[in-house]
Subunit: 468 residues, 2 copies
């Protein structure tokens, strides 16, 4: 359904000169998702500067029943931010840090602030805004909160949802719902902000937020540990949490094949162990204290783990350069797979107690279905989040392999689901998993989701075709 | 509106022998709130044993449009659990611990489990379930989650909401919404469990939960610190958080007059300082590590604070007995006020940066309105939660003083609100603050709350007259 020209004219008049664009060249970068999996189309891009602008846009959209798609930094991986003929509303011009309150450990900011800028503003006040992920140079606060983004330090600081104290949201009818409270305790009725966190812009548009800040870490230690199996990694996780007093800020596991890919394809990387053990854990512990004892606590926990068996070898970073080199191995895993042909990816989570059996069962199942397939299962062990990625058999036809995407999804998601897991740990549903999720959620859960959607967006104008 | 006898008969038939009660003697303890502020009435008490029982009750309630009030341990302070003619559904027979998964750091349990039993089950698995408050010997999980309970260690572990990974909820129409996932990352649509946490049973009945567990603390240090003013307490809070690596698990402030009341009325208490300073902070730090350095970190942070000014004196607990004695001073504050005549209480929160100016401004305002009034402002400084309690002027008439409850509320809540605060930090709205809250929330926020209520409880049968 195309939007009528006279309606588009009303939106343009509302936006004013400079507040909109419709030429294909300007629009192009907004219409393609960076993995190039989703390509969209829109008759009009609006770029509001204030929440009042957003309210006016949604008021008109509601009156004219015109669908809109909100977009932040366009870094989502499931197509949630890509329009299919709707008006596109980019919030990237709303990029003011409104205030920083170091005594309250909070920061108020607009939805279009880029994550790296938010981190820098916190740092300038000698505080940490802990949300951190690969796309932090482009991803915006509004998008990150709307998708309840994760990252590598969720184990310590929680998901994006856990970092939010307050929100301002424009509702489908253009009313501003002001929930900009910077409180750590507030039991005055339904916690409405929770509705919009993780809703991917389908229930309202987040325009401002109050986020939590933390003391900056002053001691950071990083280690790599060679392990026989994933079960040993989980035991090690609990051991290090206890020994460090809960100081674990990253706990990643990497399979031998994943490190082999990184070492083969990423310049400047070096094998931490020779030979490489079946699994390697990357452990980061950190503290806001200048704590010379933390390293010793980590060292003795690792020594104990090796003596207890399961862990076979370990190396601690001696410098910031070492720490960066250790993390580079982990950060290179996704990229390195590109050089090994087609890959079919999964972003699942399971209870921590199910990680090892899940990886074992799912590996056997995909190997049986596709002999020669290479399982590259890695991820955030402390959160139960496994990026269960599959590289094609060496020499196989890439397109033939990729044509089996859904088949592999069904196998892997089915096993994760039976083990109490989720088919989307951190990436969301967007367009990509909107239909698939109905197979894994109960009819009642889907019904309640749809009832909320109808209540808050009765005309279905907010990011239609996404999530529900 | 009385419930017709034939309808009551259908509920009794459903509950079966032993599943209901209607004699006044059995009902009496369910109908009075422990501060005796709310007295209720009901024609029928139902005591289901399973979530299927609860589902059948709500199915019938929905069909017959019969209102029900859910109740846990009957420890709420705002009348949320007290019926006014509705059928009362007590969940206290649903008290099974369903499973404990120490590897996943989770526990599955029924709504009627008493908090102390939940804590014990976690401890038996060498884990900590951190939720802790004065009524833990009676309060049940269902009630605690429905009210998003707080307590003294929110500063470390968050509110009840933050401790929940999964829920099972019976909806108004009797359908079971099964969200019993034990996952730390799950971005598959709207996070529906958030709706029911803190909703005080007005949107659905929580019947089971998956809660988070933590490593048990093996090192605990407690100190009392004498301070000139509240601003110095806040500076001390940040200093100790940094020095201890975020190990603060309790940070309470107490005014001189509050300690004087405790020392005068509670047998066995001893003054920590002579003379008593204007303010005393109680600091607890703890760690799952056996960490001999933690005490030293606290000692040097306190020495630094005294050198910097504001903090004037400090004493560390030398034993478990000392720690208990220090906490007894704090725990005695509410009780001790009873011996000083009538008291008017407030449970407000403000941003941490507003605590000191809030206490100063509100104290001046109530003293101007009621000369001789004694302000006993204490609470959880790390959460911005102040129990701003007012004891009557010595010798004044108790009833005349208590008749000014609403006037004092208006003064105190108004100042908290203007400073970005909340009129109910941890106790909820219930009946007590249901009308008052409409003065402090925007029309839009109230509208959205009411729209959610209509969506999930179209006949208004769930805990009517509470929250919205």
């Amino acid at each position: 359904m195309a939007i009528a020209p006279d309606i588009l004219d009303r939106f343009k008049a509302l936006a004013g000169p400079g507040g909109f664009a419709e030429d294909p060249e300007t629009l192009a970068p907004y219409l393609i998702e960076w993995r190039e999996r989703f390509r969209g189309r829109t008759p009009l891009l609006l770029r509001p500067r204030t929440k009042e602008d957003v309210a006016a846009i949604l008021k008109l959209a509601s009156e004219t029943q015109t669908p809109i798609v909100p977009q932040g930094g366009n870094t989502g991986l499931v197509g949630g931010q890509i329009p299919d003929g709707e008006i596109l509303v980019s919030l990237t011009r709303m990029r003011r840090i409104l205030s920083v309150d170091p005594e309250n450990n909070t920061m108020n900011l607009e939805a279009g602030v880029v994550l790296a800028d938010a981190q820098a503003a916190a740092e300038a006040a000698d505080r940490l805004f802990p949300l951190s992920l690969a796309s932090e140079g482009s991803a915006t606060i509004g998008g990150l909160l709307s998708t309840n983004a994760g990252g590598t330090n969720v184990v310590r600081y929680g998901n994006a949802r856990d970092l939010v104290l307050g929100l301002s949201v424009v509702l489908a009818d253009g009313r501003v719902l002001d929930l900009m409270r910077g409180l750590r305790k507030d039991n005055t009725g339904y916690d409405l902000k929770q509705l919009f966190l993780g809703a991917e812009g389908t229930l309202g548009l987040i325009t401002e937020a109050v986020v939590k800040l933390f003391p900056r870490p002053r001691t950071v230690e990083v280690a790599l540990v060679g392990l026989d199996d994933v079960a040993s990694a989980l035991a090690l996780y609990h051991r290090v949490q206890e020994a460090s007093g809960g100081a674990v800020s990253g706990f990643e596991v990497m399979p031998r094949i994943g490190l082999q890919f990184v070492l083969a394809h990423q310049a400047g990387t070096r094998a931490p162990f020779d030979p490489l053990p079946p699994w390697t854990a990357l452990i980061e512990i950190s503290s806001p204290a200048r704590d010379p004892h933390l390293r010793g606590a980590l060292e003795s926990a690792l020594a104990d783990a090796i003596e207890a068996g399961g862990a076979v070898t370990a190396v601690l970073a001696e410098s910031a350069r070492d720490r960066a080199a250790f993390w580079a191995l982990r950060d290179g895993l996704s990229e390195a797979q590109k050089y090994e042909g087609g890959s079919i990816k999964h972003d699942v989570s399971v209870p921590l107690s199910q990680i090892a059996p899940f990886i074992e069962e799912a590996s056997r199942a995909v190997e049986a279905a596709c002999p020669g397939i290479r399982v590259v299962a890695f991820g955030h062990l402390g959160d139960g989040n496994v990026h269960f990625n599959l590289s094609q058999p060496p020499g196989a036809d890439r397109d033939v392999f990729l044509a089996r995407w859904q088949e592999m999804n069904d196998i892997v998601h089915g096993i994760a689901h039976r083990r109490g897991g989720s088919i989307s740990a951190e990436h969301g549903l967007g367009q990509m998993k909107r239909h698939e999720i109905t197979r894994y959620k109960s009819a009642t859960e889907m019904d309640v989701m749809r009832a909320l959607k109808r209540t808050l967006d009765p005309h279905g104008i907010l990011n239609p075709g996404k999530v529900v």
